[in-house]
Symmetry: C2
Subunit: 332 residues, 2 copies
């Protein structure tokens, strides 16, 4: 490892995983941490528990703000473990001189999103720091969810599953990038920031055999699929042409040389479901505005265990690796 | 309220309470929040849940560092509700360029303190932000504790109770202040930063009738006593001469015109116990190195409900109000 922390170590990709493993997992070692799920499962499987700090810049963006993001992000991590979001904490670090009206707007965004999830903020913390100690506002939310379906796990993906993505990918990353660079696009480009519990609840109610779910945040689809391939020791074969990408995101990717599957999402998730339930899953997801473009994107094989393979329409294949490098800091 | 956030709004005192009430409580309103306890009591009284973000500067100080503080602070909030710390989250926001060796030192401090509490980090989050977005490192910890004794509450203090402080007051605040100002004192001045669960566990094991407990962090003893007086609608009469203050803290206070009872503590707590258990409480506390100076400091009356009165040795009295003004930012 490097001697000082680098931006790449916060990318949600390879360097980030190395930092977490070499510093945090190494010293905090325990069975729950070792599972590397989106949320820890505690109390004999009854509760899910997860935390996220939000440092997004700009704090207001097309499709959301840091408040909405802070509730979606944490509630989605609970939903991805089949848990209904219930109790939340809210810890705000705000810079001296920050607008009180903006703070209230952010809190109202949080409130609205809490209602969608049926969750409550039950405790909080507020720190005000002098100018220069923090850039505007950072929010940590930590959530407890009530597990509705046990056993959902990134460690259990198998050849019996197919891989589905819930909507067009890369929109949050592209939106933040465009805002940061002052690029102007049609209003069609906006973050996918959304709460996923209503969709997950419906899938569970309909009895879909879900093996794993994960929202494709930092590091995008590539990060999730690589983690699953490694954790479940399988090969995930992605059909490049099946990845739903909007024209706006495709445009930004072409200009800048990005791959949409490495860009962050904040309301788009990946599912591994038993293949017999795949079509029914797609049909249910399509009923939701946030999942109109849900599609099967990959099969699970044992061709290259622990790796993700990208197949193009011409029959050629290459590895889709865990993203590396700086990517985009302060994306979430 | 002001139109922009002020440092005073993070002081743990009057302006902080106003901000929390007018923005956060107002919009997040629910029964659990309304109780204003150190930790939320959830799941039918079985679990306690609390969060804290740590922004202390300097990050290494006499008696601790931001890592030790981040575990003590959150575990103590659980202990204050009679809950045994169990599951913790750790969310780190670190500046690009931060020393990896320093990060590991901080994580090792956390590990050591987790062991004292018998708690585990079960999930985490790591964000790296560009230089200038954060000053060095901020850590959020959120904890779940298993309630061992129900009913401990700041809303239940009555004339049947006496008020005890567990040790000499103001040491954390004085230490951070001295470090920030480059003041040199004898090595005897150090933060009281410590985990309180072992002390609380002993008090519970011995069957002490504890009405309320609170660690006297931001805003110090004055903030805790004022909150209790208001929440329980009683008058707390403090005997000024009974407040244990070390020579070093007294010296800093005299030079700078502070009152030790407004300075932050990070391992010193206030208890309200039934008067018949007072002496036994003191005796138990005195067995611990961290509570050698435990003393009865106040009686509960109805002379001025909702207020704290400070009595001096000459028989004069004045109100000890909730601290106001900037106090010391980034104390925790």
């Amino acid at each position: 490892m490097t001697k000082t922390i680098t931006l790449a170590q916060g990318n949600g990709g390879a360097e980030n995983a190395e930092l977490i493993s070499n510093i945090f997992y190494k010293h905090f070692k325990n069975e729950t941490l070792a599972k590397s799920e989106d949320a820890a499962i505690i109390e004999g499987g009854r509760l899910a528990f997860t935390t996220d700090s939000f440092t997004v810049s700009p704090i207001f963006f097309d499709g959301g703000d840091i408040g909405k993001l802070s509730i979606c992000g944490t509630c989605n991590d609970l939903a991805m473990m089949g848990a209904k979001p219930a109790y939340m904490t809210c810890a705000v670090i705000v810079e001296e001189g920050f607008s009180v009206a903006d703070l209230e707007t952010i809190v109202l965004s949080m409130k609205k999103e809490l209602e969608i999830n049926g969750a409550q903020i039950v405790c909080g913390d507020t720190k005000v720091v002098p100018r220069g100690s923090v850039d505007k506002i950072f929010i940590n939310t930590t959530g407890i969810g009530i597990v509705q379906k046990e056993g959902i796990s990134s460690n259990c993906v198998s050849e019996a599953d197919v891989i589905i993505v819930s909507d067009q990918i890369g929109r949050h990353g592209a939106t933040i990038f465009a805002a940061r660079e002052g690029m102007r696009f049609s209003s069609a480009l906006q973050s996918d920031c959304a709460s996923l519990w209503p969709l997950v609840e419906k899938l569970l109610d309909e009895g879909i055999a879900i093996t794993a779910m994960r929202d494709a945040t930092r590091g995008g689809v590539a990060a999730v699929l690589n983690e699953w391939a490694k954790q479940s020791n399988v090969c995930i074969e992605v059909n490049d042409e099946s990845l739903p990408v909007s024209d706006e995101v495709r445009g930004i990717c072409e200009i800048l040389g990005f791959e949409a599957y490495t860009l962050a999402n904040e309301g788009t998730f990946i599912l591994a479901v038993k293949s017999e339930d795949a079509q029914r899953t797609i049909d249910i997801l399509h009923r939701f505005e946030e999942a109109r473009h849900a599609a099967i994107i990959a099969q699970v094989t044992h061709q290259y265990d622990g790796r993700v393979v990208l197949l193009n329409g011409w029959g050629s294949k290459r590895f889709m690796d865990l993203p590396t490098g700086e990517l985009l800091p302060r994306i979430c």
